[in-house]
Every structure is written in C-alpha cells, then in structure tokens.
Amino acid sequence: MRTIDVRVLTETTASLLVDANYRIPPDILTALRAAADAEESDIGRQTLAHLVQNYEVAAAEGLPVCQDSGVTVVVLETGQDVHWVGGSIERAIFAGITQGISNGFLRWSVVGDPLARRMLSGAPPGVIHYEIVEGDGVRLTVASKGFGAENMSALRMFTPADGTAAVQDFVVDTVERAGANACPPIIVGVGIGGTFEKAAWLAKKAVLRPIDQRHPRAETAALEADLLQRINDLGIGPQGLGGTVTALAVNVEVYPTHIAGLPAAVNLGCHSNRRISIDL
C-alpha cells in the first residue's frame, strides 16, 4: 500500500496545465515541421511554417499557444494499491485546473450552465476520467481540448452488416464536414466497439495518444494508414486553404462489442492538441 496526499494532484494538475498550453507535445511539433516540408501547396507550406513559428515563440516567451485553452480533460490512472488521503480527489483536481488557468494567464473558457450559458460559482471547471490499474503507480494526464475541433466530432451506431467500409466512410465524411473548422492539420481519434459511451471514450483516448505510435495490432495499424491517406486525399489542407496535409495522424482504438452492434466515434483534435502526462 502506498499513501499519497491529494494535494499533489492540485499542484501537478496546475503546473501540467500551464506547461501543456505553452508547449505543444514534441511529437506534434516534429510532425508539423515535417509537414511544412512535405505539403505540396504553397499556401499550405506557408501556413504550416507560421504554425511552427507560433509554437516556438509561445514556448520561448511563455504564452498560451492558442487563446482557446479549451475544456481541461484530466485522466487519473491510479493503482489499486494507492490510498489517497487529505481530502477529495475530485476537488483537488478541480482546484488544480482553476489554479492552472489563473497562473498561466489562460482564458476561462467554461460556462457553468450549458443551457442558460451562465457562470455558476463552484461549478466543475473541467472533466475528469478515472482508471483503476494494477499496482501502486499513478499517471496523471492533463489535456486542453479546444472546441473548434471538439464541435466537429461525431458518434454513430452502425450495424454489423454495415461493416468496416461504412465505418471508414464515416471517419472520412466527419473530417470532410469539419473542413477548416477543426483547425487542420488535425489529429483524428477513432473509437470502434464497446458501447455508446465506450466508443466516445476510446476516441478520446485515441486522440490523446502520441501521434508517432501506431496501433500495436497490424490490422488496426493498417486501418490507421488507410484512413490517413484517404483524409489527406480530400484536398482540405492546412486551415482548409488547399493542400495535401489535412491530418497529421489517425489513431484508432478498438474494443469488443455486442453481436448486434458496431459503435464508432470520431474525436477530432486541432493541431494544438495539448496534452501532457506524468508518472507520480
């Protein structure tokens, strides 16, 4: 048994949130630099070069890469042998999000009541997912999910007869409908299988996976490659200005599902797909 005070969650969430907003993940910056060379359209190459410069300046000067610091999504993977003390885990993480937004001069982008569009005192400032894992390790992931791309995401319940082709068309159509709105070049997270909510969660995990890692299963990795090619053939290009780089990566996650079903979810991430993880 390992005992940890929840205060560490407040401090770590706050500092990771600021870091995530000032520095995009190195795998994404590497991919953007490569794309700035590979893109075939002139305006697309210029756009990608501007984005790389934006990320370099933001990191050097300590500025938010984008004014939309999004909804903060925290994933706490906690070992089953960890005993958390010192108060509520949830309140500790929420306090960390609030501190991070304030410390980092990030925009307060969450509205407390989604229908009345009002701020509510004490309302949750973000979204938390918990996963229980073996052992006594703890991994904390903090992501800032901008809503240009989040708004263009989609979920659909297919039937077994629809099959792989229908799911592929759905992914490509979702990207095509999103067009420039999702701030391409995008990262495409796809969740296939499970239940309604599991597919959405798989898609979120997929979009948060580093983009230089292909799926370990060969057939899923092949699906990722095929989807990436089809998406980049759409011609949308950086910011929808035309070109050959619409997505930097397609990450797919799969899970067993019902004999009668084929849920599929697509979670889009803009090029500022801010996320950072730390082992505590």
Partner: protein, 188 residues
C-alpha cells in the same frame, strides 16, 4: 505580397471590392471583436429597440475571445474563432452596417449570398496562431459588456494583421475552390 487593408475605422469600399478570394491581406487599423455572447447581446439590444453601444457602419469585425494579457501585453493570445457559429447573427450585423468579418473555418450555402448582397467580405486568419496574432494587437479597449470577460466587445488596434480572403464580393469562396483543386480521386 499581401494587400494592405486599412480600417481607420471603416473598411474602404473600393479596396474591399477589389479583393478576390485567395488574396493574402495585411490589416491595419481598428477591429471590433465579437463572440457568441457578444453577438447575442447586440441582437437583443436591437430587438428591444435600444441603441447599440457603438456605430457598426463600415466596420470590420474580428471573431475572437482573447486570453488575459500578461503584464506589458495589450492582449494575450488572440487567434480567430469559428465563423459558422455566427451565421444566425450575420444578417443582423450586416444590416447594422458591418462590412466584413475576420474569423476561421468554412461557410457554404445561402449565407455566402448574404455577403454579396450586403457588400461584405469574410477574411480567415490562421486558427491556432494565437501567440503570434496577439502580438499584432497594439492596443485593446473594452467598449461594452465588460461582464462578459473574454466575450466583451473590444476595440483592437492592429498593425499588419495577416489574413486570407475567403468570401469576396463577387461570389468567390476560396475554401471551395482550394479543396476542389487539391482533391485527389479515390484510390483503388
């Protein structure tokens, strides 16, 4: 070379007419910021017969909700937001004299005709270029609705603010022509 677009404070009609979808422009002068909550407030004021907090005649809007300024900055990061969310408000804004909007993302269908009929243009700035675009804002003043925070109505003084003409006054839509040009046929 980008076309210089002066907005002091109005967008010149002759210059705006000369723009073609796909042109790179560099905007200097005054921009009026707008967000979802700002647009809704303005519309509600007009519907209840109240005067708007400023005259929008000839103005160029910028769809943005900046992050807070650090000490020494005019604004924090300040990139564009998605124009699609403003479709419901654009006819009202154009009716109030607005002659253009800077945002990001796509517009298709009937609304593009509204731009032409109202003599307005849509310019796209790069989404996710917030740190660099914030540096092009030399001064920022809250004109109305300070209680809306980042969604307050600001007046930005910008210099050499980069954008691309998406919808011109002659029926051009650059997102559509660019995609058609670069689309590849399905592979076997």
């Amino acid at each position: 070379m980008a076309i210089a677009l002066e907005c002091r404070p109005m967008l010149d009609d002759t210059t705006s007419l000369a723009l073609t979808a796909g042109d790179a422009v560099s905007v200097s002068g005054d921009l009026i910021t707008i967000r979802d909550a700002t647009a809704k407030r303005l519309l509600e004021m007009a519907q209840s017969g109240n005067a708007l907090p400023l005259d929008l005649t000839g103005r160029l809007l910028y769809a943005v909700g900046p992050s807070p300024a650090k000490p020494g900055q005019a604004v924090g990061s300040a990139g564009p937001t998605t124009i699609e969310r403003f479709i419901a408000y654009l006819p009202f804004l154009f009716g109030s004299g607005v002659k253009g909007i800077i945002a990001k993302g796509e517009l298709h269908g009937d609304i593009t005709g509204t731009f032409r009929e109202c003599g307005a243009v849509y310019l796209a700035a790069i989404g996710g270029l917030g740190a660099l675009l914030g540096k092009r804002v030399e001064a920022a003043h809250v004109v109305a609705f300070p209680e809306l925070g980042p969604e307050a109505l600001h007046r930005f003084s910008v210099r050499d603010f980069p954008a691309v003409v998406i919808i011109d006054r002659h029926g051009g839509n650059f997102h559509e022509t660019a995609r058609a040009r670069w689309r590849r046929a399905p592979r076997p």
